[in-house]
């Protein structure tokens, strides 16, 4: 979920701009407390959408560039598209107080959870989002929001190891293959610099939750990372797929869609046997929205076949829309193995949730490991 990564079309992600933006970004984090959202006045299913207009904030290049035209054609509602670079940026805007002037925001799941705890989100009205019926049941039962009470998934995925099949004597099957590498892989591995994904391999290898907040477990994770660091080439969130393509590294921890950006058929993706995470990027409706019917219609439109096909074909993330995902698996699965993952496999991953106060401890571990 959470990405601090920039979403971008395949073409542009290969370019510098995508890489560059990702660096500037933020990632996950957390806090505590806050009241749950409660339903406000019920929405009118017969509202005249042509009189409504909404503002949607999304990561740059994460949806069909013609979305505004197509949405207005379909629903008659007016739409303005705004951009945010990171989860932190949009959450900052939405929690600053007052009317943020945004009706629908794209945020990663654990951020949706936090926004809901802060009482800022309008409950999703399933009557106004009939396309929910087309989503995989697994995608409607994610840890941060079981039953889509306040968020609807736009894309989902997991984290694993991208590796060079042709350069390794045996493909990796365990996080330990990367954390405690064989001599042939020493200084030929990369890990992600962003939490919670920096912790994830060690957490899973040690049998802990990806969301652990137990101090003793976090200490063990840190010890493993300190031990792993001298065997790494480095931490890289931005250009790791290029390091794989050039053969500088044999393995890199990676969000699943990103292996594909290397453009190299020898780069394969595996979810290690100890398991990994399950993230989702979601859409939420703000309680402050004055055009909630159009906002719900927008979410419905975005999980429909046309927009989901665009997303999975261009971003190479997995679609929660069953028909779209199955078609993509058949058409793209051979070239992009992550697209072929079944929802059952995906749902084996542990759903990431808001870490609350522990976000500070996670970041402290990242700082200590990098400073070691």
């Amino acid at each position: 979920m959470a990405r601090q990564r920039t979403r971008a079309s395949r073409a542009s992600i290969l370019g510098i701009a995508g890489a560059v933006c990702a660096v500037l970004l933020a990632a996950c984090g957390g806090g505590s407390s806050g009241g749950e959202a409660s339903p406000s006045a019920s929405l009118d299913p017969n509202a005249d959408l042509s009189k409504q207009s909404i503002v949607v904030s999304n990561w740059d290049a994460y949806m069909d560039p013609d979305v505004a035209l197509k949405f207005t054609d379909t629903t008659k509602a007016n739409i303005t598209v705004a951009k945010h670079a990171t989860n932190e940026e949009i959450v900052g805007k939405l929690t600053a107080g007052g009317d943020p002037g945004i009706d629908v925001a794209f945020v990663s799941g654990q951020y949706a959870q936090a926004l809901n705890e802060a009482g800022l989100l309008e409950p999703i009205d399933p009557k106004l989002v009939p396309n929910l019926a087309n989503l995989y049941p697994e995608s409607k039962n994610l840890a941060f929001d079981p039953g889509n009470k306040f968020s609807v998934p736009y894309a989902w995925g997991t984290t694993g190891i991208c590796y060079r099949e042709d350069l390794m004597s045996a493909p990796p099957t365990s996080w330990n293959d990367l954390l405690n590498p064989a001599p042939e892989n020493v200084k030929k591995t990369l890990m992600l610099a962003t939490q919670p994904w920096m912790n994830l391999p060690a957490a899973k290898a040690l049998g802990f939750s990806a969301n652990t907040t137990d101090q003793g477990q976090l200490d063990q994770i840190k010890q493993q990372l300190l031990k792993t660091k001298p065997t790494l080439l480095g931490f890289d969130d931005v250009t790791f797929y290029e390091r794989l393509a050039s053969g500088e590294v044999n393995m890199a921890v990676a969000w699943d869609g990103w292996c594909n950006y290397s453009g190299d058929p020898n780069v394969k993706f595996v979810v290690p046997k100890e398991g990994a995470d399950l993230w989702a990027d979601t859409m939420v409706v703000l309680k402050s929205s004055k055009n909630k019917e159009a906002a719900m219609a927008y979410i419905n439109f975005m999980i429909g076949d046309e927009m989901q096909s665009w997303m999975t074909n261009n971003i190479l993330y997995k679609s929660p829309n069953k028909a779209v995902a199955e078609k993509a698996a058949a058409e793209l699965g051979a070239d992009y193995p992550n697209i072929a993952m079944t929802p059952a496999d995906l749902a084996k991953g542990e759903g990431l949730i808001d870490l609350g106060e522990a976000a500070k401890i996670y970041q402290q571990i990242a700082t200590e490991v990098q400073a070691s």
């Binding site: 560059v20 970004l25 932190e88 610099a193 050039s246 200590e368 990098q370």
Partner: protein, 269 residues
């Protein structure tokens, strides 16, 4: 009066906010809340953070030193050019600034990686492959490269003001090149050199993009730490405390610079 407004809006207000934040507690989504606390200041003295500060100062200091080693001869060479060529040379010095900073840094990744041009070239003469990327050296190189124009320009300006007859007289009286450099060029351009050093040191110290892209987590700097507190930990108070620590360091350095240039003015008089 406009100057005072400018000072208050752009300097006093933000600084007051940073100072106030440093003594508060982190909020749920970033931001700050009560109670007032000294914890953030206390954390600054943990060895982890002091260590990163020291290594940042060393990185920025080395970048400044190398920028001087390259920048001074470059500025000198420019002043020796015919007037029209001087303009062209100065434009060339500034030219990289017309390209996005991140793209220029990204270019270094292409040059420095194990399969990159530099490593390949060394490989041809039997010295490669070499890992330059994700090293501290790469960070220092990146910082030096990024800010060299800021070293060249002030040194060029003070060399321009230098009376060439002084160097001529020294030569006529038998001073060799080293002596002319040491007793005339260096002292009389010292204000420019110090300005150039500050212009390189200060942004180098706060840079977080180069350590992240070229250092690959092997050379964190204080800028990364401040950025992480605001964008990753949502710990604005500690981020503010870190920023204050850097600010205090810079105030000391600028005061040193001010007194140094006062001294050089006295010598000049």
């Amino acid at each position: 009066m406009p100057a005072l407004t400018y000072l208050i809006v752009l300097m006093v207000v933000p600084l007051t906010l940073v100072i106030a934040y440093a003594f508060l507690t982190a909020g749920r989504f970033g931001g700050v809340q009560g109670p007032v606390t000294l914890d953030n200041i206390g954390r600054l003295f943990e060895p982890l953070y002091l260590g990163i500060l020291v290594s940042s100062v060393v990185n920025a200091g080395l970048a400044t030193f190398f920028a001087f080693l390259i920048g001074f001869p470059a500025a000198l060479a420019i002043t020796r050019l015919p007037a029209t060529w001087q303009t062209a040379a100065l434009v060339a010095v500034v030219l990289p600034f017309w390209t996005n900073f991140l793209i220029r840094t990204y270019a270094w990744i292409i040059l420095l990686n194990r399969e990159g041009i530099l490593s390949d070239a060394l490989g041809l003469v039997g010295l490669g492959p070499v890992d330059f990327l994700y090293t501290r050296q790469a960070v220092i190189l990146g910082l030096t490269y990024a800010y060299i124009p800021l070293m060249v320009l002030p040194i060029y300006a003070s060399l321009q003001r230098l009376d060439p007859t002084l160097l001529e007289a020294a030569r006529n009286l038998g001073a060799g090149p080293w002596r002319r450099f040491r007793t005339i060029l260096l002292p009389l351009t010292l204000p420019g050199i110090i300005t150039g050093c500050l212009f390189v040191f200060i942004p180098s110290l706060g840079n977080f993009v180069i350590p992240e892209l070229l250092g690959g987590g092997n050379s964190q700097m204080i800028g990364n730490l401040v950025r992480d507190q605001f964008l990753k930990s949502r710990d604005w108070p500690f981020g503010s405390a870190l920023a204050l620590m850097v600010l205090a360091l810079l105030v000391v350095i600028v005061m040193f610079q001010a007194s140094a240039s006062r001294r050089t003015r006295r010598w000049g008089a």
